[in-house]
């Protein structure tokens, strides 16, 4: 079995890590102390930028650079930790919050100070009840020790932190929908610009980062950017917690150094598909990433290499699909999810997702013509790039990749289903076709 590179998950098995005593005993909150006592906010931002740390929530944007967009000034500024973790296949933030909530809190406070934010929120998906309870308890502990609240460690910096539970919508993980939801409104994405850094929560400047991104912050500050950059590739620094699921023998979260071959993760760590099965395709970054093929497993698992392969690293969730799965079922599964989760605000996503599902259902029933598969493909193209947020694309991209890579299977699937339906109909005496023609 291949090795993990444990940085974030370093002490993850330490009993009681979620309590402040254990976390502090293992050196916790020292990064915060260092940041507050020896660094100016600008220096923290510079250090984060130098580390090359990229967002772990999906888009992979440089964390330090995003923090540097926050305007100066004395207005209320906000930091929102995106803990909505709803992308199918993604379950890494759950682990980080459940096992090591204080590392996240420490990261949030450091990032907030760096960005000049005095109010922070953790927007956690509604289903994560246990994790929300753990976080709330941890925040209370941190507040009692003076790591959260007014005048943190006597530094003059105030960071208030509130854990807010979502109400069960995938779209609320999209950063601007998250803000609307946090404001008590219907969670719909907003038009950008204005970007959250300029006008975010309650119209104030807002920095939004993923749980894993923020959990990396104390590490960067404690060990320094140089240390951090030693792992990973030039453009994908550090380690990544990868959630591996689907047809593998050992699904789970694995921390790896970015840039190792994907095969090492899928086969080495997760054990590959069950015996006798082959990888048919895999999603390298959650269900919204275009699927890649078996041969792509030899590519390095990094932001840049996945993009080069025509897909993306996204949230770092690998879903493995073996050759027992019909591609139409897979496409339907993905499309149904995004149709269900489309907020309905913009036209191409709202109508495109439901149209796609209806067409795929027809293909699945054998009621389509080859022209329908063309239309299906064009509908995906018509969605892509035309939506308000990327949820629409999140369906169109994988579905389109499946059509491109498995077109024959779509056609054959439809044919087979049609024949099966015809046979059934004839058997039941329902077909208008002459009986001998079906023989």
């Amino acid at each position: 079995m291949a090795d993990q590179t444990r940085v974030l998950l370093d002490d993850i098995d330490e009993p009681g890590l979620h309590t402040i005593e254990v976390y502090e005993r293992l050196g916790g909150y020292q990064a915060l102390r260092k940041a507050l006592t020896t660094m100016e906010p600008d220096e923290i931002v510079a250090e984060l930028q130098a580390s090359g740390l990229r967002g772990r929530g999906g888009a992979g944007f440089s964390m330090g650079q995003k923090a540097s967009f926050m305007p100066k000034g004395t207005m209320d500024k906000y930091l929102c930790c995106n803990a909505d973790e709803s992308e199918p296949g993604t379950f890494k933030d759950r682990l980080l919050m459940q096992k090591n909530p204080h590392r996240l809190i420490e990261g949030i406070v450091i990032a907030a100070v760096a960005a000049g934010a005095n109010r922070a929120f953790i927007y956690i998906r509604g289903e994560y009840v246990l994790q929300a309870d753990i976080l709330n308890a941890a925040v209370a502990e941190a507040r009692a020790r003076g790591y959260v609240g007014a005048n943190i460690l006597g530094s003059g910096h105030d960071v208030d932190l509130v854990v807010h539970r979502g109400a069960g919508a995938y779209i609320c993980g999209e950063e601007t929908a998250l803000l609307d939801s946090l404001e008590g409104k219907r969670g719909n994405p907003r038009l950008k610009p204005p970007f959250p850094a300029n006008q975010g929560l309650f119209r104030g400047p807002t920095l939004i980062n993923n749980v894993e991104t923020l959990s990396n912050v104390p590490i960067v500050i404690a060990k320094g950017a140089e240390w951090f950059k030693q792992r990973g590739t030039e453009k994908s620094t550090g380690t990544k917690v990868v959630s591996v699921s689907g047809n593998v023998q050992r699904p789970g979260n694995y921390e790896i150094e970015l840039g190792i071959p994907a095969r090492e993760i899928v086969y080495g760590l997760a054990g590959g598909p069950p015996p006798g099965r082959k990888v048919k395709c895999w999603f390298p970054g959650g269900s919204s990433a275009p699927v890649l093929l078996e041969e792509d497993l030899d590519r390095p698992y990094s932001f840049e290499s996945m993009a080069e392969a025509g897909s993306m690293l996204g949230s770092g969730a690998i879903i493995v699909v073996d050759d027992s799965v019909p591609i139409v079922s897979l496409a339907l599964r993905v499309a149904r999810f995004y149709r269900h989760e489309s907020c309905g605000k913009c036209v191409p996503c709202r109508e495109g997702t439901n149209w796609t599902v209806k067409m795929l259902e027809r293909i699945d029933r054998g009621e389509a013509t080859p022209m329908d598969i063309e239309i299906l493909d064009q509908v995906q193209q018509n969605i892509m790039g035309n939506c308000l947020c990327v949820l629409g694309d999140s369906m169109a991209m994988p579905v389109r990749s499946m059509i491109a890579k498995f077109k024959d299977e779509f056609i054959a699937h439809n044919e087979r289903a049609r024949e099966a339906a015809d046979r059934l109909a004839v058997g039941a005496g329902l077909s208008s076709e002459p009986v001998d023609a079906a023989a």
């Binding site: 919508a169 149709r339 605000k345 036209v347 709202r350 149209w355």
Partner: protein, 830 residues
């Protein structure tokens, strides 16, 4: 926030160079180069773009993705394409997506023929349909409210209606429910969407999803015509388009966006009140009292009877002019009175005498704010008026200023205002104590001496007054929107003196964008004042040759000094204080000659001659907006056969009494007005055109008679007299003949309700819903009690102008201490 001054830039679109103000959204800037970009959700009136429909995508050089032109400000040197293959593909795609779930029931859809979805599908769609799946279904149509039907299958979820409710009217009732392709527009809990401005969503809807219950299936676009005019139902004077059919019927009223007046919105009364025009109860023939009842007669008989009665009364005649009279009508009425009958008694103000010097000060161009100033002011003081009831469209302007430009709002009223939640400071003062409040505010803005004592006289909290002063101080230009109520009653003159003093303190006169804006009781109160319909003011705000009696004095002078009453669009029993005095006056007057479109109970009982009035859609003339904009009222449909123009009837009366007015047409009357009102100099009907002209912006403005603001020497406001409960009254948007006679609005008709504080309610053993009687000096008004936590203890509020149990029975221009007690439920005999 000061109004930004944009600079011009040059950009390229579809190969042409176009100049546009920097920062204008591309979709608008394109139009300057005659390039049309299709859109659905974009509507700048609704605030920031939302980017929902994706119809407006364009390609911009240097940007990898297509951009929504509704949200992309144009920049110098930008190169834009709206016709590239990529853009066309996106446009085709969006149209196709929009039609995926659209029922395409155009043949039975009200919107058909004037539908942006049809037009854009035709213009930018691929012209074919590839969607063969089952469509989404909803029950259709259902009543969103008694006024509006919603067909959710047709809805394209463009956000317009919801944004209107959330961000313009701020009634927060309309929301989206569910999500994805199941999303639909509705209200929380499915209760009806009833709100003062709800009808605007029908006009905003780009498809036939929202339709007017009153207009549904009444016509198709090729059956109808548009006729521009103004709404005459309140002083907002919103610009409207009447949709007419066969030149005889008004089928619909739409907004005719005038930034200077209405910003493109209408209230539901203005939008749906047209039904009264065609109500069977309308007076459409001359009537004369005969054997105790009013009976239809020939014009000849009505005219001769009226002329004879007026001639007989001569100087013992008096005229009450209602706010719906046009400038032309008002001018001729005062001419008839003063020049023909030799009577100085003409009044158009229900609330008492206005001092001539003060009237001139209030008319000073440098002291008058224009409506759009509200939006860009530093601070707005809403004083003694409830805008949503008295000048509804200004309510939306104030909200817009606060929401978009951070205007500091101060609300100072007796009755809780619907604008309170938007205000930086809220002051409650005792009904009728506006003068004392202004004195206290003056003290707070000055050195603070005497503030506590003065606030006490106003029944207001000194802290609240101080907060108001803080919000107004150093705010930049201040606009004071004040209600006529402030200037009414016994101490009206002193209150106006305080108002002018405030204007001086806040330097309204010297400040661009600052000023006073009166919210009068009558639609055309300002115009009527300026053309001479006040007892002490001749046309042009000049001193009248002989001072006449005010409305209240007229009532008191019947029958000793006055024997004939001319009521022009007025029934003092419903609009004037001291109903008892007016009942006696009408009872005793020898003749009561009325111009009316409906027989109110007062006219029914007392009028001796009734001339049928033109409805607002049948007349030509002018009115003057409270901010000085002279606007045209234009005839949209033919008059009923027996209705004559009012100006013509008035001219005929002059002629019959022996002194012809010398006018042969409506426009001729306007010319006479322009000749008599120096500051209207140079105005022509052609120039007024569709949008009107503020006379302050014309050369004649310099010809307002001189007046100075008072310097000190102000009287002390009187102390509050001890009282258990003090009476305040307020009109309701939903009272009056238009609401009574428009079937679709009748469900909104205001009944008398008695608003009390919770404390007083408990003390008196009265709960919400109880029938109570409010009594003073032997008169009593019954109504249903409503306990409100925001009503200050010690005040009780009644509605003015209700059909029955009108609050005017209890008012007399002085503070009134009333008693409230539970009334036994009266059994009304069937």
């Amino acid at each position: 926030m000061p109004k930004p001054e944009p600079k011009l830039i040059t950009f390229e679109i579809d190969g042409r160079e176009v100049q546009a103000p920097e920062g204008m959204m591309l979709v608008d800037a394109a139009r300057l180069g005659d390039v049309e970009i299709p859109f659905f959700c974009y509507e700048p009136k609704l605030g920031a773009p939302v980017g929902a429909c994706r119809m407006c995508l364009v390609e911009i050089e240097g940007m990898p993705k297509l951009q929504t032109s509704c949200s992309t400000p144009v920049k110098d040197g930008m190169v834009v394409s709206t016709t590239s293959e990529r853009v066309k593909q996106a446009q085709n795609a969006v149209v196709e997506f929009l039609l995926v779930n659209h029922p395409l029931d155009c043949p039975v859809c009200d919107k058909g023929g004037e539908c942006p979805l049809q037009d854009i599908s035709y213009g930018w769609g691929a012209g074919r349909s590839r969607f063969i799946e089952p469509k989404r279904h909803f029950e259709k149509p259902v009543a969103l409210s008694p006024l509006i039907a919603i067909d959710r299958e047709r809805c394209i979820l463009c956000y317009r209606c919801v944004r209107f409710s959330q961000e313009i009217a701020e009634d927060y009732q309309l929301v989206f429910l569910e999500r994805g392709d199941h999303t639909f527009v509705g209200t929380h809990d499915g209760h009806p969407y009833v709100a003062p401005f709800s009808g605007n969503i029908v006009e905003l809807c780009p498809v036939g999803a929202l339709t007017s219950q009153a207009y549904r299936f009444r016509a198709r676009p090729w059956d109808i015509e548009d006729a521009g005019s103004i709404c005459t139902l309140c002083p907002s004077q919103c610009n409207v388009k009447y949709t007419t059919r066969d030149d005889t019927r008004v089928l619909r009223v739409l907004a005719r966006d005038n930034q200077g007046v209405d910003d493109g919105w209408l209230c539901d009364k203005g939008r749906f009140g047209y039904q009264a025009i065609h109500a069977p109860e309308r007076v459409t023939q001359p009537l004369v009292r005969d054997g105790g009842a009013l009976r239809p007669v020939s014009w000849e008989r009505a005219l001769s009877e009226a002329a004879r009665a007026l001639a007989r009364a001569g100087g013992r005649s008096a005229a009450i002019v209602g706010g719906q009279a046009t400038n032309e009508e008002g001018f001729l009425v005062q001419h008839l009175m003063r020049e023909v009958l030799g009577s100085p008694h003409v009044d158009s103000r229900p609330s008492g005498v206005l001092d001539p010097a003060q009237a001139r000060a209030l008319a000073r161009p440098d002291l008058t704010a224009a409506v759009p100033d509200i939006e860009w002011a530093g601070a707005v003081l809403v004083l003694d008026t409830e805008l949503v009831d008295e000048m509804p469209i200004l309510d939306l302007r104030v909200r817009k200023g606060v929401r978009r430009n951070g205007v500091r709002l101060v609300v100072a009223t007796s009755r809780p205002s619907s604008l309170d939640p938007n205000a930086r400071a809220v002051v409650r003062f005792t009904p009728g104590a506006g003068e004392a409040f202004l004195a206290a505010l003056g003290a707070a803005l000055g050195d603070g001496r005497g503030l506590d004592e003065l606030a006490g006289r106003a029944g207001a909290s000194p802290e609240a007054v101080r907060a108001a002063a803080d919000a107004l101080r150093d705010a930049g230009p201040v606009v004071v929107v004040w209600g006529e109520r402030l200037s009414g009653g016994e101490r009206g003159r002193q209150a106006v003196a305080r108002l002018l003093d405030l204007a001086r303190t806040l330097e309204l006169a010297g400040t661009e964008g600052a000023g006073l804006l009166e919210v009068p009781r009558g639609t055309n109160a300002r115009g009527l004042r300026e053309v001479g319909c006040l007892p002490n003011l001749a046309p042009g705000l000049a001193d009248a040759a002989a001072a006449g009696k005010s409305a209240g004095e007229i009532a008191a002078a019947v029958p000793e000094e006055i024997s004939a009453l001319l009521l022009v669009h007025a029934d003092p029993l419903s609009s004037h204080p001291d109903r008892g005095a007016w009942e006696r006056a009408l009872d005793r007057a020898g003749s009561v000659i009325a111009f009316a479109d409906f027989l109110t109970p007062g006219l029914e009982e007392h009028a001796t001659v009734v001339f049928p009035s033109e409805s607002e859609a049948e007349k030509d003339g002018t009115m003057t907006h409270p901010d000085g904009r002279v606007q045209r009222v234009r005839q949209a449909i033919a008059r009923p056969p027996e209705v004559l123009p009012n100006w013509q009837v008035l001219a005929e009366l002059c002629e019959r009494i022996g002194k012809p007015a010398g006018v042969v047409s409506g426009p001729a009357v306007f010319e006479r007005i322009v000749a008599s009102v120096p500051f209207y100099e140079g105005l022509t009907l052609a120039e007024l055109g569709g949008k009107g002209v503020r006379w302050q912006e014309r050369d004649g403005a310099g010809r307002v008679p001189e007046s100075t603001l008072p310097e000190g020497g102000l009287e002390e406001p009187p102390p509050l007299e001890a009282a258990d409960l003090r009476l305040g009254t307020a009109p309701s948007l939903w009272s009056g003949p238009v609401v009574e006679h428009s079937p679709i609005l009748r469900f909104l008709l205001a009944d008398q309700r008695v608003e009390l504080s919770v404390e007083d309610g408990e003390r008196l053993g009265v709960s919400t819903g109880d029938e109570v009687a409010v009594t003073v000096g032997g008169a009593s008004v019954r109504g249903v009690a409503r306990l409100r936590s925001d009503v200050p203890p010690g005040s009780v509020f009644l509605v003015e102008g209700t059909q029955s149990e009108n609050a005017t029975a209890l008012t007399n221009g002085r503070p009134r201490a009333v008693k409230v007690a539970r009334a036994a439920r009266e059994v009304t005999p069937a």
